[in-house]
C-alpha cells in the first residue's frame, strides 16, 4: 500500500468543520410550505403529474422522469398542491416548481408500499427501482444514480469507490452520515456491488474524520472485499477524478467517464439513500444538510425535507447574525451565492454556508504577475495563468487548445491567486461559450 493516498497539487483552505462536525443530525419540523422544482438533477427536468388543488401524501410521485437521464420527483410532505409555476431556483434562475401547502395536522405517514428484497432482483430491476425512487448523487453534482449503474457492454467495472472525502470546507453532511448511519452505508455498498457485479469496494475518507473511519471500519461486512482508506486532507480530494487517482492510481482520460477505467464512484450519502429505498420503500424525499457558517446563530446538521425554503431552515437554526452578508449553497469553494432566501433546498444541496463581511469583503484585482501559484494548485495540471490571460484577451479558441475542457472549475486557481483574478469564473464563462459554439456548429 502506498504511504500517502492523495493526488498532486490542490490547496488547503481553512476547514472550519469544527462548527458542526460533532453536532448530531436533528430532524427539522415541517414548514408551512414546500417548493419542489422539477429540475433537481443533471439531465432532463421531470414532467409534473399533479394539478393545483390535488391532495398528496408523503412520498407520492408528483413528477415523472422524462427520459433515461432523468428521475421522478416525490412529495416530501403531505398537503395540497397550491400552484405549479416559476419559483427561485437555488442555481439563481427562476424554474418551474410545484408548491405544496403542508397539511399541518397530517401524521406524515406514507401510503403503504411494497418493499422488494434487493437480493432477489436482477441488476436491471435494481436500476429501475433506484430510478423510480428518484435517487441522484447527493454529493452535489446530482447526477441520476441509476445511469452510473448501467455500464455499456464493452466496459468492465472492477471497483466501486465510495466517496466519503468531503473536502469542501464547512460541510459535515457526509461525515455525520458515516458516523451515524454506518450500517446504511454498508448496506448501500452491498446493493451496489451486487448490481454492478464488482468484487472490490474502497471507501475513501479524508483523515480529518477519524471517528467516521473508525465507525466504518467497525461495521465492515465480513463476506465482502470492502476497505476503508484514510486520505490526505486536501481540496479537491472529493472530486471524482482526484479520488480515483488517490485510491487506484488510474487517470480518467478527457471526455471519458470513470467507468472507462473500471471504476464507479458513489457518494456515501447516495449509498445510504439507496439503502433506505430498499429498507423502507420511501423515495428520496429528505436529506442531511449542513447549515453552518460564521454568520449563523446555531450551526447544525439537519434532516430537511426536500423543498423546504432556505428561510425556514435558517430560522430553525436560530437565524442570521448581523454580520451575515452572503448565503452560499453547497461548499464555499464551488457553491453559488444565493440571491433569494425563498429558494428551496433540493436533492443536491449538501449544505448552506452563511458567510460574513470578513470572508466576503471585496478585494482589489491586480494584473497577473505570473507567480505560478495557480499552476502549483491546479489538480488537473493546467496553466490557469495562461488561460486567464487568454480569457482577458478574448482568445477563446486558443483557450480550448490549452485544454480548457479538462478544467473542472474546482476554484483552486482563484483561491490561491494573489492578484485576485477571478480565474475559475472566467473559465466557467469560457466553457459555457465553447458549449454554445459547439451547439451552433452542430
Amino acid at each position: 500500500m502506498r504511504a500517502r493516498l492523495s493526488f498532486r497539487h490542490g490547496v488547503h483552505p481553512p476547514e472550519h468543520k469544527e462548527l458542526t462536525a460533532g453536532v448530531p443530525v436533528r430532524r427539522m419540523p415541517y414548514p408551512e410550505e414546500i417548493v419542489l422544482p422539477l429540475r433537481q438533477h443533471t439531465g432532463k427536468p421531470a414532467r409534473p403529474l399533479v394539478e393545483p388543488g390535488d391532495r398528496v401524501e408523503r412520498g407520492d410521485k408528483i413528477g415523472e422522469a422524462d427520459g433515461f437521464v432523468s428521475v421522478p420527483i416525490h412529495a416530501s410532505s403531505a398537503g395540497t398542491v397550491k400552484e405549479i409555476g416559476l419559483w427561485p431556483h437555488p442555481d439563481g434562475s427562476m424554474a418551474e416548481a410545484i408548491r405544496i401547502t403542508v397539511d399541518a395536522f397530517s401524521p406524515q405517514i406514507p401510503r403503504p408500499r411494497i418493499i422488494p428484497h434487493w437480493d432477489g432482483l436482477t441488476p436491471d430491476q435494481v436500476v429501475k427501482a433506484v430510478q423510480r425512487a428518484g435517487v441522484v448523487g447527493l454529493g452535489g453534482a446530482a447526477f441520476p444514480t441509476h445511469v452510473k449503474l448501467l455500464p455499456p457492454d464493452d466496459v468492465v467495472v472492477d471497483t466501486l469507490i465510495v466517496n466519503g472525502a468531503e473536502c469542501e470546507p464547512y460541510l459535515t453532511t457526509d461525515h455525520r452520515v458515516m458516523t451515524e448511519y454506518p450500517e446504511r452505508v454498508q448496506f448501500g455498498i452491498r446493493i451496489m456491488m451486487h448490481t454492478l457485479g464488482v468484487e472490490r469496494a474502497i471507501i475513501g475518507v479524508e483523515k480529518n474524520k477519524p471517528d467516521a473511519i473508525e465507525t466504518l471500519e467497525r461495521t465492515l461486512p465480513d463476506d465482502l472485499d470492502v476497505t476503508v482508506q484514510g486520505l490526505t486532507v486536501k481540496y479537491p480530494q472529493g472530486y471524482e477524478k482526484m479520488l480515483i487517482h488517490a485510491l487506484t492510481g488510474r487517470d480518467v482520460p478527457p471526455g471519458k467517464l470513470p467507468m472507462h477505467v473500471g471504476v464507479v464512484v458513489q457518494n456515501v450519502a447516495s449509498l445510504a439513500c439507496i439503502a433506505e429505498v430498499f429498507e423502507t420503500g420511501l423515495p428520496l424525499i429528505e436529506r442531511v444538510v449542513t447549515v453552518t457558517g460564521p454568520g449563523l446563530r446555531r450551526p447544525s446538521n439537519l434532516i430537511v425535507p426536500v423543498g423546504a425554503k432556505i428561510r425556514d431552515v435558517l430560522e430553525f437554526c436560530g437565524g442570521l447574525l448581523d454580520e451575515a452578508t452572503e448565503i452560499v449553497f453547497g461548499g464555499p469553494m464551488m457553491g453559488g451565492s444565493q440571491p433569494d432566501v425563498d429558494a428551496p433546498i433540493i436533492k443536491s444541496t449538501t449544505g448552506i454556508v452563511v458567510l460574513t463581511k470578513k470572508e466576503s469583503r471585496p478585494r482589489r484585482t491586480y494584473p497577473c504577475i505570473k507567480c505560478g501559484h495557480c499552476l502549483d494548485a491546479c489538480p488537473v495540471f493546467l496553466n490557469p495563468s495562461l488561460l486567464g490571460i487568454l480569457a482577458q484577451a478574448g482568445r477563446f479558441e486558443e483557450m480550448e487548445e490549452a485544454d480548457l475542457a479538462t478544467c473542472m472549475l474546482c476554484g483552486c486557481c482563484s483561491y490561491v491567486c494573489p492578484s485576485n483574478i477571478p480565474l475559475s469564473q472566467m473559465f466557467a464563462l469560457a466553457k459555457a461559450g465553447a458549449q454554445r459554439r459547439k451547439q451552433q456548429a452542430a
Binding site: 478527457p254 464551488m334 502549483d376 491546479c378
Partner: protein, 346 residues
C-alpha cells in the same frame, strides 16, 4: 465581482465561487520583498556609509517617480516600483553620482516596464534593464569602486556631481574580487566574500545575509526556490569542473558562488515572478541557463561579471521556456506516458 441584492430585510452579496481566498495578495508579496531587503540595505550602509543610502534613495526615487508620472493610477501601492528602485540601487557602486542612479531607475521603469503595459506585462527585469542601460551609457562611473575608508561618514565618491556632468574621481579606488580574479588572477578569500569585507556594488557583499533574506521569501513561497537552487548548483558544477581542470587559472566554486552579484541576482532578480517562467520545469531550465551563462561570460567573456546579462538573456527566453514546458493536463496521453515511465522505473 460582487453585487448586492435586496431580499426582504436581508442584504445578500452575490459572488462567484470560490468564496474563500488564500491570504496572500500581490501587494503583500511585493512589500514583503521590500521588507526582506531592509537587512541588506542596513548591511550596505554599514559597509559603505551614507553614500549607500543616498544611491538607494536616488534609484528608488527615479523608479517611483516615473511610475507615478506615467503608470496607471494607484500602481505605486503594489510596491513593484519600489522593489525595482531598491534592487537597481543595490547593483550600483556606492560612489556613483546620484543623477545617474536616478536615470537608471527612470529608464528601468519607463522602458523596462511601462511600455509593456505596467505590472505583470514586462519581459525584462526592470532593475537589471536599468542597470544594463547605465553600464552601457556610463561605463566609467559604473566601474569605479572606491576603496574602504576608515571614516564611516565620508562619501565614497562624487555622489553629488551635477546632473549630466562627469563625476570627479578623487577617491582611492580598488578592483572588485571578480576583477582581481579575471585580470590579475588573484582570488579573494571566500570567507571575506561571505561576510562582506570586500569592495563592490552595494548588494554584492555579505552573501550570507542575502541568502538568509532570500530564504525567508522562499519559505513564505514568495519566490520560487527552484530558480536560485538551480543557479547555484549549475555555477558550482561548472566552476568545479573548471577548477578541477586547472585550479591555478580558475577560481574555486565557493569563490564563484559568493563573488560578484550572483547571490543577489539569483535570490532577488532571477526570481522576479513576472520575468521568470511560470512552470516549475521552466524554473529549473531558467536557473540552469543563468548559471551556464554566468560561467560562460565570467570565464570566456570580456567582462569580469555576467550575472546581469545572464539574467537578461534568460528573461528574453522566458516566453519560449513557458511555451516549451506547458504542463500536461490530467488524463492526457502525454501525462499517461510520463506516469507509465515512472511506474516502470519503480
Amino acid at each position: 465581482m460582487s453585487e448586492t441584492s435586496h431580499v426582504g430585510d436581508l442584504q445578500l452579496q452575490l459572488r462567484a465561487s470560490p468564496h474563500l481566498k488564500a491570504p496572500d495578495s500581490t501587494p503583500k508579496i511585493m512589500w514583503n520583498v521590500v521588507g526582506s531587503l531592509i537587512p541588506v540595505i542596513a548591511a550596505a550602509t554599514w559597509f559603505f556609509g551614507p553614500s549607500a543610502l543616498l544611491v538607494l534613495l536616488a534609484a528608488t526615487a527615479g523608479a517611483v517617480l516615473t511610475e507615478r508620472a506615467f503608470g496607471q493610477r494607484g500602481s505605486l501601492g503594489d510596491g513593484s516600483a519600489a522593489i525595482t528602485g531598491l534592487l537597481l540601487g543595490l547593483t550600483l557602486p556606492p560612489g556613483v553620482p546620484l543623477w545617474i542612479a536616478f536615470v537608471g531607475g527612470a529608464f528601468g521603469i519607463g522602458f523596462g516596464k511601462l511600455v509593456f503595459g505596467g505590472l505583470g506585462q514586462n519581459v525584462f527585469n526592470p532593475a537589471l534593464l536599468g542597470r544594463a542601460f547605465l553600464q552601457a551609457a556610463f561605463p566609467a562611473a559604473l566601474t569605479t569602486w572606491p576603496a574602504a575608508t576608515t571614516e564611516w561618514a565620508r562619501l565614497r565618491g562624487d555622489n553629488f556631481a551635477l546632473p549630466f556632468t562627469t563625476p570627479s574621481v578623487d577617491v582611492v579606488t580598488e578592483a572588485t574580487p571578480l576583477g582581481l580574479m579575471k585580470f590579475e588572477a588573484t582570488p579573494t578569500d571566500p570567507w571575506s566574500l561571505m561576510i562582506g569585507a570586500t569592495g563592490g556594488s552595494l548588494g554584492e557583499t555579505a552573501g550570507l545575509l542575502i541568502l538568509l533574506c532570500g530564504g525567508y521569501l522562499a519559505l513564505r513561497n514568495y519566490l520560487n526556490w527552484r530558480i536560485p537552487v538551480s543557479i547555484f548548483v549549475t555555477v558550482a558544477l561548472f566552476q568545479g569542473l573548471l577548477f578541477a581542470v586547472d585550479s591555478a587559472r580558475f577560481a574555486s566554486p565557493l569563490f564563484a558562488l559568493f563573488s560578484g552579484g550572483l547571490i543577489l541576482g539569483a535570490m532577488y532578480m532571477a526570481t522576479d515572478m513576472v520575468t521568470s517562467p511560470v512552470t516549475n520545469a521552466g524554473a529549473w531550465i531558467f536557473g540552469f541557463g543563468i548559471g551556464f551563462l554566468v560561467i560562460l561570460i565570467r570565464t570566456w567573456g570580456g567582462l569580469p561579471e555576467g550575472v546581469m546579462y545572464a539574467i537578461l538573456l534568460m528573461n528574453a527566453l522566458v516566453p519560449f521556456i513557458n511555451r516549451a514546458t506547458q504542463p500536461k493536463p490530467y488524463g492526457s496521453p502525454g501525462r499517461a506516458a510520463k506516469r507509465g515511465a515512472r511506474e516502470a522505473e519503480a
